[in-house]
């Protein structure tokens, strides 16, 4: 059993990570940090650089949490990838970030967070930027 964190290199991502660490301690389960970037775009704002991921791994390990960092670079659906990894690793909880979206944004783009909330087989912890 693991705690799975969907990590993005933004302040929301850091908040998610903090919540994930707390959750991992509470459940005393190892932490799995996943960063997903799509392969059908030229630039993905959600892609974390490798030194960024190294830093995440180091910081979390320093907090005394058993951590693994995973980077997914194939596929075009972050929600699907995250839910799939959660199933493979039998995650006990998925921690994701959630943010407000503009009406136009809602119209054009689907929500990865919503898909994870609906599709995941395990409980999902949604973190908001200002609360964490």
């Amino acid at each position: 059993m693991t705690v799975l964190v969907g990590y993005v290199p933004t302040s929301l991502g850091e908040a998610t990570l903090r919540a994930g660490v707390a959750e991992s301690r509470r459940r005393s389960e190892p932490l799995l940090v996943v960063n997903m970037s799509r392969d059908d775009v030229l630039v993905d704002a959600h892609r974390a650089k490798s030194d960024d991921l190294d830093r995440v791994e180091r910081d979390v390990a320093e907090l005394g949490v058993d951590v693994e960092v995973m980077r997914i670079e194939r596929g075009s659906d972050p929600a699907d990838a995250l839910v799939r990894v959660a199933g493979e690793r039998e995650a006990s909880v998925i921690v994701i970030g959630l943010r407000h979206r503009s009406p136009v944004g809602k119209l054009i783009m689907g929500s990865a967070a919503q898909r994870i909330l609906l599709d995941a087989r395990c409980p999902v912890l949604a973190v908001k930027e200002d609360t964490a």
Partner: protein
């Protein structure tokens, strides 16, 4: 001075709200497609061609001119931020530009490229005003035999000089000529290559050819091949230049302009060769040679000026002779023809208002581009986040709509698909696309001049060899064709002299193929396939590190 008053008249014509709006639209669309790798101004103009049938010819030309210039600006953004040239003309910019971005100087690289493009574009457009009427007054005396020679130079030039190998270039040209032949012979009324189909009797529309090869071919290619890891975003501030950067940039801008313009103006010159030459020049002349390879601003300023100047240079043969020197110009030419305007030396006398208005709109578009690009570069970079499926679905939609709109025949859609498959196969086997387009557009014109020259002398072949102009043209054709042989002979002679087998005479880089006798011209710098798939090359750039010594067939690292 006559030209300048005519130009002022052009300005007066162009400054109406609607025309300015079209110029703005053109540069916005042009920048956008320039930013996106694999989608160039040629494809865009081809896609928009059927849509602009409803517009007056002036406005659609203003639109296309804006797209053409805008593509040159936009290409540099991706080169700098992603090391993925959006345009083949921006390949060289990636060398230093991306290094600058990686060392946190993306803003300066973008600024020098935008300002350099503006200066080169303005000087280049000014040069059009000065040079083009002179070329026209010379060209107006030329007859069919001379034009035959000039078109032949364009054919041989595009086929032999551009592209990774001559065989591929000529194969592509042949396909283009064959496509241009389909239809009814205009002299005898005979059906040619129509296979008895009434749909083919009326020639294949250039729009269908261009859209099929550029848009559908590219979409199929991307669908079949392109899956690559996304890149991380390089943060860009507002582009600006320090005083030192200005001091280091202005000379390369001017030198790049001087290199780019003439190359744009000659058939088969294109923008790739002058950008590369400009890079080599700056590297040699730089006071900071140690910075080259680590992000020297001169290496961005020079090539960026060169590619815009060459875009301006392209307009000279296009307007003066009706001769396209790159794919976008070829499509613009097709657009002119579709309005019933015959391009050629008479264009300036028959449609002076149109020509001067187009040139004036280029000045204005250039100014818009500076205003749009300098503060908005980070916004343009956001376009790269569009998922490819969305993008190509849109392109295919426009492609099918455009092909259908030409004649309203479902047959054209099948033709479009067949040509798309052809375009895909050409990308797969490394055939350059430009010779095909040039062949398809200039082929019928070539035939017309050929028939006319022959009719003039009653079928005697001596009619083909007119005055000194055509002698010079045939001379150039011969030299280009025989160049591999000459190069090999020279190498044999060299070897005889020094006895050791000197490698590559005058090659640009590690040619390494000294014994095989391939032509030096073939593996020239960055001369691969016009605008066919910069994305493909972009991937090369992306994956391999510069300065590595692995010799790639179509790409050479500069060696000082």
């Amino acid at each position: 001075m006559d030209n300048f008053s005519a130009l002022l008249g052009g300005f007066a014509d162009v400054i109406t709200p609607l025309n300015l709006l079209f110029a703005l639209l053109g540069v916005i669309v042009g920048t956008a497609v320039g930013v996106l790798p694999g989608i160039g101004p040629a494809m865009t103009v081809a896609l928009l061609l059927p849509i602009t049938y409803g517009l007056p010819v002036e406005q659609s030309l203003i639109l296309f001119g804006g797209i053409f210039y805008g593509g040159m600006y936009g290409g540099s953004t991706t080169s700098i931020l992603l090391n993925t040239p959006g345009e083949s003309a921006s390949v060289v910019t990636a060398l230093e530009g991306n290094k600058m971005a990686k060392t946190g100087r993306a803003a300066q690289a973008l600024a020098t490229s935008a300002i350099g493009s503006f200066i080169a574009g303005t000087i280049g457009t000014m040069l059009i005003v000065l040079v083009m009427p002179q070329v026209v007054s010379f060209a107006i005396s030329l007859g069919s035999p001379e034009f035959l020679g000039i078109i032949l130079v364009a054919f041989v030039g595009t086929a032999a000089i551009l592209g990774s190998s001559r065989v591929r270039g000529f194969a592509a040209l042949l396909i283009g000529l064959a496509l241009g032949l389909v239809g009814t012979d205009f002299v005898t009324g005979q059906q040619r290559l129509t296979f008895g189909s009434p749909f083919l009797a009326d020639n294949i529309d250039v729009v269908v050819i261009a859209v099929g090869i550029f848009a559908v071919g590219e979409a199929l290619w991307v669908a079949a091949h392109l899956r690559r890891k996304a890149a991380t975003v390089i943060p860009v501030g507002r582009p600006w230049l320090s005083k030192a950067d200005w001091g280091r940039s202005w000379k390369p801008w001017l030198r790049g302009t001087a290199l780019g313009f003439p190359f744009g103006a000659i058939p088969a010159g294109g923008a790739e060769i002058p950008t590369f030459l400009s890079y080599l020049t700056e590297r040699k002349l730089s006071k900071h040679p140690e910075e080259f390879g680590k992000g020297a601003i001169e290496g961005v300023a020079g090539p960026e000026a060169a590619n815009n100047a060459s875009a301006a240079g392209t307009m000279v043969p296009l307007l003066a002779l009706g001769l396209p020197t790159n794919a976008t110009a070829a499509i613009i030419l097709a657009a002119l023809m579709s309005y019933g305007i015959e391009p050629g030396p008479l264009l300036l006398t028959k449609e002076p208002d149109l020509v001067w208005m187009l040139i004036a709109s280029l000045f204005i578009g250039n100014f818009f581009l500076l205003v749009l690009n300098l503060p908005l570069a980070p916004t343009w970079a956001k376009l790269l986040r569009i998922p490819r499926p969305y993008l190509y679905a849109g392109i295919l939609f426009f492609a099918s709509m455009g092909a259908y709109a030409v004649q309203g025949q479902p047959f054209d859609l099948f033709l479009l698909l067949a040509l798309g498959l052809l375009g895909f196969a050409m990308r797969r086997f490394g055939l350059p696309v430009l010779p095909l387009i040039v062949g398809a557009i200039l082929g019928p014109l070539f035939e017309k001049h050929l028939r006319r020259s022959l009719q003039g002398t009653g079928g005697d072949a001596s009619g083909l060899i007119g005055g000194p102009v055509s002698w010079v043209c045939y001379g150039i054709v011969l030299v280009v064709l025989l160049w591999p042989l000459i190069a090999r002979l020279r190498r044999v002679v060299d070897r005889g002299v020094d006895g050791t087998g000197g490698s590559g005479t005058g090659g640009f880089g590690p040619s390494g193929t000294d014994g095989s006798g391939t032509a030096d011209l073939q593996d020239g710098p960055y001369v691969a396939d016009g605008e066919s798939s910069p994305d493909d090359r972009g991937r090369d750039l992306h994956d391999s590190t510069f300065g590595s010594s692995s010799p790639a067939p179509t790409r050479k690292e500069p060696e000082s």
